[in-house]
Symmetry: C2
Subunit: 444 residues, 2 copies
């Protein structure tokens, strides 16, 4: 029995070790994936470590500093809380922290001066009252969406600092000195955070937003360029065909990107001139483009249903509108691709307009095909899927035009230079009858 | 000239005062709107003020406390940072803060003990190294989406506390005592924040999520119930008709609610049993329902285009599919409304199934209408809009069924009780030929 128990215990230990090992392997894989997905994450972790080591070096040389004392912790607090992944977030938080600490500290010292004229009990009552009203008011201000977007952190720090100064133990005569020292340490911490963030492989959130919007347009373009071939192929039995073609699903991430884009645009406004982005780059326009992209993505979502084999109208019926529908989807895709290139190279171009014009021509051609009643005599139940595809594609042309216009507006607002080098090509108008698919010639 | 300058100055002052006055009025209106939109905001501001006053009262009675000292600031810091609008967020932050402070403090003290055996220089090097590695590793862990969702705040506090302990000035023998005192103050602060948050008009984020999902289903239901009448009315010239009917636009907020729902579901998991929600309420199911709702909303977005007067097929063509389309939209709307009621009253009901069955029957009836080629001879360009509406409505039935199923699953998971009182009605099947619209009789 003892033997059996021993064997069981060994078995248990064995299972436990196996489980732990499996968990460790999982963890390792997760870490590798996180780092591979965005190697800047590893660099950021390194930066946080470095900034804290800088602070600890400062502390090591403390004696040569003016009355440094235990206030080092304010610099540590500041570095840990202020140093964010992107420059925009770090600058925003750093400025918020320094300004809020300064103002709240001054207000707190002022109110303490006033309360010091009353007796001990009066002082306690006045302090509590002022803490109650100021904390309550500032907390309420945090609910304002406009203030929340840019100054939320500052408002919290304001409450915090004001309460600390009001409720602190320091005697009246030391108070100003202590407050000044802490403010100084917070400025030191913020500066270290900002310098480390900007000087070592900076992550500009504005640039990320710019690239994300360009990538999102590209995702829609990929879908549209591929849609024609997918929908009008004659192979009826490709079950799950849409499943293994990633370009047909990539656009889905666009559907729910609204809040992340808005956050990025707010943070980008804190960033100074960098690369080809100036300080007052029109970040709001990106939100506008993003909204237009999403409207198009909703439509594409409705369109994507018809790629399921079960939803397909017989090929014979589909084929009657194949030419113009394929043209619409390819030309819309190309217009979006060109718009995405405008963003990518930050170079003005009129190429999208050519493709939009072609897409519009194709839409008109589709309409005239429809006017000729291509499905005369067919079962109406069978044509509704094809009719829906036609209708959605016609709608998409307008949405694509809106995206291209919004990108063009951005190009004007941000003074993109017209690039002769990138776009020496021309877009040839498609003819209604020949419907050639390869219509762009780029003369390098 | 002096007179003129004086007049000008008076004018300037006058304009300035007017401007300031206008700004003040604006501010007042904004404040009133913020408070009216959600009166709980005013209560929350009051609660923050109160919690801080409680801390200041504690400080006033300080002498009777054990070695309270300047550590009061840790309680203030904790209250300001932990006390959030909802109970879930406050509990999550409070637990994160206390646990992270405890663990990081213990680790920090342990490492300091170890480094104390080496010389002054060795100690500085070892401290810096450990700060670098631990801060870097934990920062990297913050990028993991799973950890970020629930423990982000805890991870920051871990870094913070570990650095503070490692870099603090306190001599070795005082260190443990100081750390214990601070941990104690943080526990006091967290408790005050949690007690104030729960005891005074608590805002349960789980309840908010529950109501939001119910309201979102209701929004879709309103659109669908109204769609039939809107689309099939014979008044061709109601320009902007859709503009002044809010129920046709309310669903739009659903399109971008994904991230807020996910945040709410994560926070809700911290909340204890409250009202009719138990501790392990199936919050994840709400995310699933939310996703189904959004899929339906995307489809409705595509459908809403056809309410524009410019997009309407001539009434004569529309009228041929009016009966079955109206039935689909009304029955889908009713199914959603009943599902929304299941959530609202937290009472199981089979009513949605009846309406879903009716909607399916109506879809079949629409298909048979289409099989009879109702638009024979009509211009195909003119019928594509009507065909698209038919096709989208047929798709919507499936999506509505999915929503109802997901709600039903929630009702099972969360053990909603079957309510005899609420739903003593029956859903009568609609007949294909008479298509009566009022088909529900509720026997009270």
């Amino acid at each position: 029995m003892a033997l059996a128990a021993g064997a069981e215990a060994t078995g248990c230990t064995h299972t436990l070790m196996e489980k732990s090992w499996a968990k460790l392997v999982n963890l390792k894989n997760m870490v590798i994936k996180l780092g591979k997905d965005d190697p800047r994450r590893v660099i950021h972790s390194f930066k946080v470590g470095l900034a804290l080591v800088l602070i600890s070096i400062l502390q090591y040389f403390r004696p040569s500093f003016y009355a440094f004392g235990d206030n080092i912790m304010w610099a540590v607090l500041t570095v840990v809380l202020v140093l964010e992944f992107s420059v925009g977030a770090t600058l925003g938080k750093g400025l918020n922290r320094v300004l809020a600490t300064g103002f709240a500290g001054a207000l707190g010292v002022g109110i303490r001066r006033i309360t010091s004229f009353s007796g001990d009990k009066g002082k306690a009552v006045l302090t509590s009252t002022s803490v109650f009203f100021i904390a309550g008011t500032v907390t309420f201000m945090r609910f304002s969406p406009r203030l929340k977007a840019r100054y939320d952190y500052g408002l919290i720090i304001f409450i915090l600092t004001f309460c600390l100064v009001s409720l602190s133990d320091n005697p009246e005569n030391e108070l100003v000195e202590v407050a000044q020292e802490r403010l100084f340490m917070i400025i030191v911490g913020s500066c270290i955070a900002i310098v480390v963030c900007i000087c070592i492989c900076p992550v500009w959130i504005g640039q990320d937003l710019h690239h994300q919007i360009a990538a999102n347009i590209q995702k829609l373009a990929d879908f549209l360029e591929g849609f024609g071939d997918e929908y009008f192929n004659n192979v009826e039995n490709t079950t799950g065909a849409a499943g293994d073609k990633p370009f047909l699903h990539r656009y889905e991430s666009v559907l729910s990107s609204k809040s992340s884009e808005e956050t990025m645009a707010v943070l980008a406004r804190w960033e100074p001139c960098h690369g080809r982005f100036r300080f007052r780059h029109p970040w709001k326009q990106y939100i506008k483009i993003g909204n237009q992209i999403r409207l198009c993505a909703y439509k594409i979502k409705a369109l994507s249903v018809f790629l399921l084999p079960s939803e397909k109208t017989p090929y014979e019926l589909r084929s009657r509108i194949q030419e113009s529908c394929t043209n619409i989807s390819i030309e819309s895709g190309k217009a979006l691709k060109e718009s995405s290139l405008i963003l990518k190279h930050m170079a003005k171009s009129s190429m999208p307009n050519g493709h939009v014009a072609n897409a519009k021509a194709a839409a008109e051609s589709l309409k005239s095909v429809l006017r000729s009643n291509p499905w005369e005599g067919a079962d109406h139940l069978e044509i509704i899927a094809a009719a829906t595809v036609a209708s959605l594609l016609i709608d998409i042309v307008v949405l694509v035009e809106n995206i291209c216009e919004a990108v063009d507006e951005l190009a004007t607002l941000a003074n993109f230079v017209p690039s002769e080098l990138l776009h020496r090509g021309t877009v040839q108008p498609i003819s209604d009858h020949h419907g050639s698919v390869h219509i762009i010639s780029i003369a390098e």
